[in-house]
């Protein structure tokens, strides 16, 4: 048997020496600095909560400490000794394991095989010793009170049981650092309680736990320490006992106003869209709101709150099970995206690459794609009219491209976004839904998109903006709907619109869990 990491060096350490310490970690991707000199310390026998908005750099730091990303600068120390993780295997060897949101396990293998994959006990001739593997799997499962048969194929298990297998796997390599990335996101109430007990047990065994969660109630329930990231920077850390919810929210959102939003004269016109009692069997329920001409409605919420799902139903991609839509006062049935476009609703999706532009098609053809009935005559396309239409809308958006017959794929992300928006404006819609319109684009292009959004509203278009960026939501919206777990948690306007209220409603702070 290989000597376990535990027997080597972590037993004698006390709780005030970090078992894993990251300092000055910087990591850049083209156009974005994801982490800027952040530090993070994890102590044996303690749970550290990592808190931050979407895009604060939480997943980047997890990928750095599990060896998936290599930092551009900074130092990682394991039990005081500097290390380099060239790969995920290196991090695993140092005793760091992660339990991801979507567990990274193999559905077609059994529980025992999943626990021991990569380090299965070997018998004679280097063959896998199945009996030994089953026996040890049973031992580990018993230690965490998991009533699972080692021979069950993993695909027969629910999410909670899969988490248990992942934890068993962490124990089988004697992990001293366990990273849990939103482990309760898909669990039921009872399963969450069981997970908390397991976390307590891991603590008592002296393992360090990094717990990532958006839910404040559970952070206060199980964490000993906190670390807060904002926009890729470290903004604070300490003991949970020293802070309350308000402090953490302030650290998460309290930022300098580094973006300037366009001034807007708010003069909403008559109601153009009304959604009543929209529901879907699994995604959302009881969604109702109205929208006026010239208005920008922000839709805020955590990732997975059901915002995009509602918008996709509104656009005819999925069908709601209940509810009605009124456009200009008349009830309309939207069965397909074509119906939505015909009724003046357009949707600029979040994932541009996948759902926005057709790479390989020239710019002008991308722009005119939904407007071909306008530019064709007796069933034939008129290229001159297509070019004219494309030129009109791309010029309005200040698109920088050598020529309109250039492939969209050669444009930068921001310019591709402009092509997608131009495409929709060319259909002369009444309502435009922008899903995360500035995600992943540079500051300059962001400002252009914001200015343009304001211009659209001024021209009388009704805009729905789904966004996870608090400054953008506050800076652009006339009104904001906050969604949580598929329901509308709040509709905010005027003085009620503050970073704190947004985060409170989105995370459900101060409300009982259903």
């Amino acid at each position: 048997m290989q000597p376990s990491i535990a027997s080597r060096d972590y037993a004698p350490q006390t709780a005030d020496v970090p078992v894993l310490a990251l300092s000055g970690i910087t990591k850049s991707f083209p156009g974005v600095k994801a982490l800027d000199g952040v530090s993070l310390e994890l102590f044996p026998g303690q749970v550290t909560a990592l808190i931050g908005e979407n895009g604060a750099g939480k997943s980047t730091i997890v990928k750095t400490l599990t060896g998936i990303y290599q930092p551009d600068a900074g130092e990682i120390r394991v039990a005081g000794k500097p290390v380099r993780f060239a790969s995920a295997q290196d991090a695993a060897r140092a005793g760091i394991t992660a339990i991801h949101q979507e567990t990274v396990l193999f559905d077609e293998l059994t529980v025992a095989e999943n626990i021991f994959i990569g380090h299965a006990p070997r018998g004679r001739f280097g063959m896998i010793d199945w009996a030994e593997m089953r026996r040890r799997a049973r031992d580990i499962l018993a230690r965490i009170d998991a009533e699972l048969d080692p021979d069950t194929p993993l695909r027969d298990l629910g999410i909670a049981s899969k988490h248990l297998v992942a934890i068993a796997r962490a124990l089988s390599v004697d992990a001293r650092v366990v990273v849990m990335d939103e482990p309760t996101a898909a669990l039921s109430h009872k399963e969450i309680e069981e997970l908390y007990e397991l976390v307590d047990r891991l603590k008592s065994e002296g393992r360090a736990i990094l717990f990532i969660s958006h839910k404040f109630d559970e952070i206060f329930r199980i964490a000993d320490r906190y670390t807060v990231f904002r926009d890729g920077a470290h903004v604070g850390s300490g003991l949970m006992a020293d802070v309350d919810e308000a402090d953490l929210v302030r650290m998460m959102v309290g930022r300098d106003v580094d973006q300037i939003f366009p001034d807007r004269v708010k003069s909403p016109g008559e109601e153009v869209l009304k959604v009543v009692g929209y529901a879907h069997p699994t995604e959302f329920d009881d969604i109702g709101f109205s929208l006026r001409r010239g208005e920008i409605l922000g839709v805020y919420g955590l990732v997975g709150a059901g915002r995009s799902e509602v918008m996709q139903a509104l656009f005819g991609i999925t069908r709601p099970s209940k509810g009605a839509v009124k456009i200009d006062g008349a009830i309309k049935v939207i069965r397909s995206p074509a119906d939505a476009v015909a009724n003046g609703i357009v949707y600029v999706p979040e994932d541009r690459g996948k759902q926005g532009a057709v790479i390989g098609m020239p710019i002008f053809q991308n722009v005119t794609l939904p407007s071909l009935s306008q530019t064709s005559h007796r069933g034939f396309l008129r290229l001159a009219e297509e070019f004219a239409l494309a030129r009109r809308y791309t010029e309005r958006l200040d698109l920088r491209a050598a020529a309109l017959d250039q492939d969209v794929g050669n444009l930068s992300g921001g310019n591709q976004q402009k092509v997608v928006i131009a495409k929709w404006l060319a259909t002369q819609p009444k309502v435009i839904i922008l899903d995360e319109p500035t995600k992943g684009i540079d500051i300059g292009s962001k400002a252009a998109v914001h200015a343009f959004m304001a211009e659209l509203a001024a021209e009388g278009l009704a805009v729905i903006m789904v966004s996870s960026e608090i400054p953008e939501v506050l800076g652009m919206s006339d009104r904001v709907i906050v969604m949580r777990e598929g329901l509308i948690a709040a509709e905010l306007e005027g003085d009620a619109l503050t970073p704190e209220t947004l985060v409170r409603h989105a995370a459900g702070i101060g409300e009982d869990r259903p």
Binding site: P337, D351, M361, Q365, L372, F380, A402, S412
Partner: protein, 332 residues
């Protein structure tokens, strides 16, 4: 200018000219106008099927049933002519196109409504269509003496020096080119194959677009069915056996991306001509038919390699001089 020189179509034209020159150096008669017409006529059925296949491949599908469709349509035409010689050929021709379109529509409907992968659907219908030929013909042949003179004469009749078979090839190419480049449906083919998700968000029904692509491919296969049977004056279960792969090869050599959304009708025409010339030229210069297969195979691999190379990301344009160079290179 550089773009024009390095384009797939230019390179393929160059290869075709080289092939003609090499053949002519051994056997000058090959490039005599009359022989070139004969080669083109001989290639026309391949061209007609490849045009249909192109449309299907553009939408990120594949139609393996075209040769079986051709054989079944051809058999129905031949049996009808044998049983009722009085029916005008024009009517038989229309029937062939209609029957082919129905078979294509069945493929399309299965892909659209049941969301079965196209390769599985057409592999199944390919076998079914061949089976139906056996059922209706009892495995018997329809021979030349059972067919009417008008029936077998049409493909061979000459208009302006060109056989009608060749005219059908030219007309199909023009029609499909017009449809692909100048109609909303043609644009939808590219959108659906290039980015199905984006197409959905644009209000294009992906399944319906693919349905039309299969129907068009089927209609052309039906047309080719009559032409084939009339030209060779024989119909039996196994005509054009395995021809579907040659059809796909013509598309691939012509630069139609098997991943959908990219390629031109000119490319398909050149791809079909390339294969047609190889088939006709190699026996003339005394190269064994086995070399023919090897050369066709090599052409496919070379074509796909070129496709992948040109599709590979050239990297983002960050350098100022790269940006400037690109702007100069782009047409005004």
């Amino acid at each position: 200018m550089k773009r024009l020189l390095t384009s797939r179509e230019t390179m393929l034209s160059g290869a075709i000219l080289l092939l003609l020159a090499l053949t002519a150096s051994r056997f000058p008669g090959f490039i005599a106008p009359a022989n070139l017409v004969a080669v083109f006529t001989d290639t026309s059925p391949l061209l007609i099927l490849a045009l249909g296949q192109t449309v299907v491949i553009l939408t990120r599908c594949i139609d393996l049933s075209v040769a079986a469709n051709l054989a079944l349509s051809g058999m129905v035409c031949a049996m009808l002519n044998a049983a009722m010689p009085g029916i005008p050929v024009a009517l038989i021709l229309a029937l062939a196109v209609l029957l082919g379109a129905v078979m294509g529509a069945i493929n399309g409907a299965l892909v659209w409504k049941l969301a079965i992968p196209p390769i599985v659907v057409t592999l199944g219908t390919m076998t079914i269509y061949r089976g139906i030929i056996f059922l209706i013909s009892d495995g018997a042949w329809v021979n030349a003496h059972e067919m009417s003179a008008a029936f077998t004469g049409l493909p061979r009749a000459r208009i302006l020096g060109l056989p009608v078979l060749a005219w059908f090839g030219i007309a199909s190419a023009l029609l499909i080119w017009l449809m692909v480049t100048r109609t909303p449906l043609g644009r939808a083919f590219y959108a659906v194959g290039g980015n199905p998700h984006a197409a959905v968000y644009t209000g294009i029904d992906v399944g319906r677009t693919q349905f039309w692509a299969f129907t068009i491919s089927g209609a052309l296969a039906g047309l080719a069915g009559y032409l084939w049977v009339a030209r060779y004056s024989v119909a039996y279960v196994d005509i054009a056996g395995g021809f579907e792969l040659e059809v796909v090869a013509a598309c691939v050599i012509g630069g139609i991306s098997i991943a959908g959304g990219a390629g031109t009708i000119l490319g398909t025409i050149l791809g079909a001509l390339f294969l047609g010339i190889i088939k006709n030229a190699l026996p003339v210069v005394d190269v064994s038919p086995f070399w023919q297969m090897a050369i066709s195979g090599a052409a496919i691999i070379i074509a796909v390699t070129l496709n992948t190379r040109s599709a590979r990301a050239k990297g983002r344009i960050i350098l100022r001089r790269a940006q400037a160079a690109q702007t100069e290179g782009a047409p005004a």
